[in-house]
């Protein structure tokens, strides 16, 4: 099962697709899976990534410089699916999906063999149409839960989510931090009251110690900016560098 989360913690790895190009992204994704990633978040680059820190902003700019599109990301997903059974999630801002059309997007995602999607700027209240199209095709709808979410909101998030719930470890944009705040643990505890789904904790995780620590209270850890930065720093040998980074990350747990 693609979103099974059998390890503890499981690793959800994020990449910005098309950074630096789609062929490299495919090689990076396959290498990440081989090195121990359980689920891959395929990030769709967007011109205005307002929830992202500088690392993913730069990656999005690089990917958009040669015109990476959602359509190309879906094609890439299909190619990855042909070679791997790992979980695949589309991670996008809403506008590219809206421009394609929600129904068309859900159909294309199903056709590509994707397991689900997370739309950063689509809160549950605005998601009725999206939920209908995704559920019709048995695609997972992952929503964000934040430390600032009230209990009422956590309940809504839990009810709308399928596959897993993504708990944002702290207020802020994406990007590595030295320490994990207490926010994350409290949030997972609060969220647990409303859901039996696996909970993945993300935002700011970059070291083996942080990764292992997540396993004590959550099912999975999402690592994004640290992987994207590894890609940025290892021009020409991105896949090997990411594989090495992931092996180091999961070795301690």
């Amino acid at each position: 099962m693609p979103l099974a989360f059998q390890k503890r913690p499981s690793l959800v790895a994020y990449v910005t697709c098309g950074d630096p190009d789609l062929a490299t992204t495919r090689a990076v994704v396959l290498a990440a899976i081989a090195a121990g990633a359980d689920v891959i978040e395929l990030g769709v680059p967007f011109s205005d990534p307002l929830a992202d820190g500088p690392v993913i902003q730069r990656a999005s700019e690089r990917a958009l410089r040669h015109g990476t599109t959602l359509e190309q990301v879906l094609k890439l997903a299909k190619e990855v699916r042909a070679q791997s059974q790992a979980g695949l999630i589309i991670f996008s801002y809403l506008n590219p999906i809206m421009r394609m059309g929600v129904e068309k997007f859900a159909a294309a995602a199903k056709d590509a063999g994707i397991d689900g999607a997370l739309v950063t700027d689509l809160p549950v209240e605005e998601a009725a149409g999206y939920l209908a199209e995704m559920r019709k095709r048995n695609l997972a709808t992952v929503f964000l839960a934040a430390p600032t979410s009230t209990d009422h909101r956590l309940k809504l998030v839990a009810q709308a989510s399928s596959g897993f719930v993504y708990a944002v470890s702290r207020t802020g944009v994406t990007g590595a931090r030295k320490q994990l705040p207490d926010d994350a643990k409290n949030l997972v505890r609060r969220l647990r009251k409303y859901t039996q789904l696996p909970i993945a904790v993300g935002f700011g995780i970059s070291t083996p110690e942080q990764f292992a620590a997540i396993g004590k209270f959550a099912d999975a850890a999402v690592v994004g900016s640290a992987i994207v930065e590894t890609i940025e720093r290892n021009h020409g040998q991105e896949a090997a560098a990411v594989a090495q980074f992931i092996k180091g990350l999961v070795a301690g747990s």
């Binding site: 967007f46 506008n95 421009r99 700027d121 605005e126 944002v168 207020t171 802020g172």
Partner: protein, 399 residues
């Protein structure tokens, strides 16, 4: 995604437009703001304090001025100017800033962040922060900092920190992204004082409400001066706050034409203008569903306008609804037309408008000669041109 209903007026929705499209981290803060605003709206003390500040501090009511020489020169409809340029800080923006500062005070949030394009909203924000003793950080694209240098200095003089934003087109849109990143990080202690009828609910409604005073005054003033309503009201539209402010109290007067003027820029090509209703299509940008200038893959296009305050790829969701429903009409004015209108207004009436407002003046200059002398055109002069003197000098060859 969006409701399929036709013109359903639910809170935060204008027809199908509007809504609240933000990361989950901000949702609780928007709900808190909505509750605080709903309460303040019905609180007489809040309204009385706001009215007092608008009067004694900002300088309301602003005059409605009959532009006699311009009217004569154009030879058609009578032209009246609503003088928002005479307000403290030089533009209508102060109306909204005073309202939101009072709200922030009620919510106990003493750190204020804002975005600015032309710098008018940034200056107004820095001003109210000084007045209320708040910490103030203003995000501004570095391209806008270059062309609106004087306003950067004014904000700093008022004690605000101006943070340059170097991403994207380095203009208003990018400043909003950066302000949202700050807000998502410091949401527990910070109020985001958004400067236009943009963003997630409740901003488009709340900011409009704080600017409704423009139209309320203008309606009474024109009735007093002429004994009848104007044939047309013309205002420039960036995000759309001054225009919705003057339009709102006339929405039910179906005979009054409402005309919004967008930045036609230097050509009709995508990237060369900010006319959302000429090249845009519905989409979600920065929290709201409205018309957006975008490419086939849903990436937001870059924009251009000689006026930094109109240089934005989306438009307030209520304008999208007014456009679709046919209640308001939207037309572009080019950079060149706005610059020419600036000179015309300066020389006929002794009023130098902001380049934003000059777009509205340009439309009046086109339209008035085709109208009857018994008809009336009201133009919202949303801001004064002092901040644009540098750009005017670069672009205008005076004989």
């Amino acid at each position: 995604m969006t409701s399929q209903g036709r013109e359903k007026q639910t809170p935060g929705r204008f027809g199908v437009y509007g809504g609240r499209y933000v990361p989950e981290t901000l949702m609780a803060a928007l709900e808190e703001l909505e509750r605080a605003y709903d309460k303040a709206k019905r609180d007489r003390k809040f309204q009385a304090r706001l009215a007092d500040l608008l009067h004694t501090y900002a300088g309301r009511p602003t005059p409605l001025f009959f532009a006699q020489r311009l009217t004569k020169q154009l030879g058609g409809a009578k032209i009246y100017l609503k003088r928002e340029d005479l307000l403290h800080t030089g533009a209508h923006k102060i109306n909204n800033c005073l309202g939101q500062a009072l709200l922030a005070e009620r919510m106990g949030k003493r750190r204020i962040i804002a975005e600015t394009g032309a710098g008018q909203h940034g200056v107004a924000t820095a001003t109210v922060c000084a007045l209320f003793g708040f910490e103030c950080v203003v995000y501004m694209g570095t391209e806008d900092m270059r062309r609106q240098e004087l306003n950067v200095f004014r904000m700093r003089l008022l004690g605000a920190e101006v943070r340059g934003v170097d991403s994207g087109s380095r203009t208003l849109k990018d400043a909003i992204n950066e302000a949202m990143r700050d807000w998502v990080t410091n949401v527990r202690t910070t109020h985001y004082l958004l400067g236009s009828v943009l963003g997630a609910h409740p901003y488009p409604t709340m900011v409009r409400d704080f600017h409704k005073v423009i139209g309320r005054e203008a309606r009474a003033q024109i009735l007093k001066a002429e004994g009848k309503l104007p044939t047309a009201i013309i205002a420039c539209v960036g995000g759309g706050s001054n225009s919705i402010g003057i339009f709102y109290n006339f929405l039910k007067d179906k005979k009054v034409k409402l005309i919004g003027v967008e930045a036609g820029g230097r050509s009709e090509q995508l990237g060369d203008h900010a006319a959302r209703f000429r090249g845009g299509s519905p989409g979600v940008l920065q929290g709201t569903y409205s018309y957006v200038l975008q490419d086939a893959a849903g990436q937001i296009a870059t924009t251009h306008s000689v006026s930094a305050g109109l240089d934005y790829p989306s438009i307030g969701p209520e304008h999208a609804w007014l456009k679709d429903s046919g209640r308001a009409e939207y037309v572009p004015a080019s950079d060149a037309e706005a610059l020419e209108a600036t000179t015309t207004l300066a020389r006929t009436e002794g009023i130098i408008p902001a380049l934003e407002s000059a777009h509205a003046v340009a439309e009046a200059i086109k339209r008035a000669p085709r109208m009857k002398k018994s008809e009336i055109v009201m133009v919202n002069v949303s801001g004064r041109g002092d901040k644009d003197i540098g750009i005017m000098r670069e672009n205008l060859k005076l004989d």
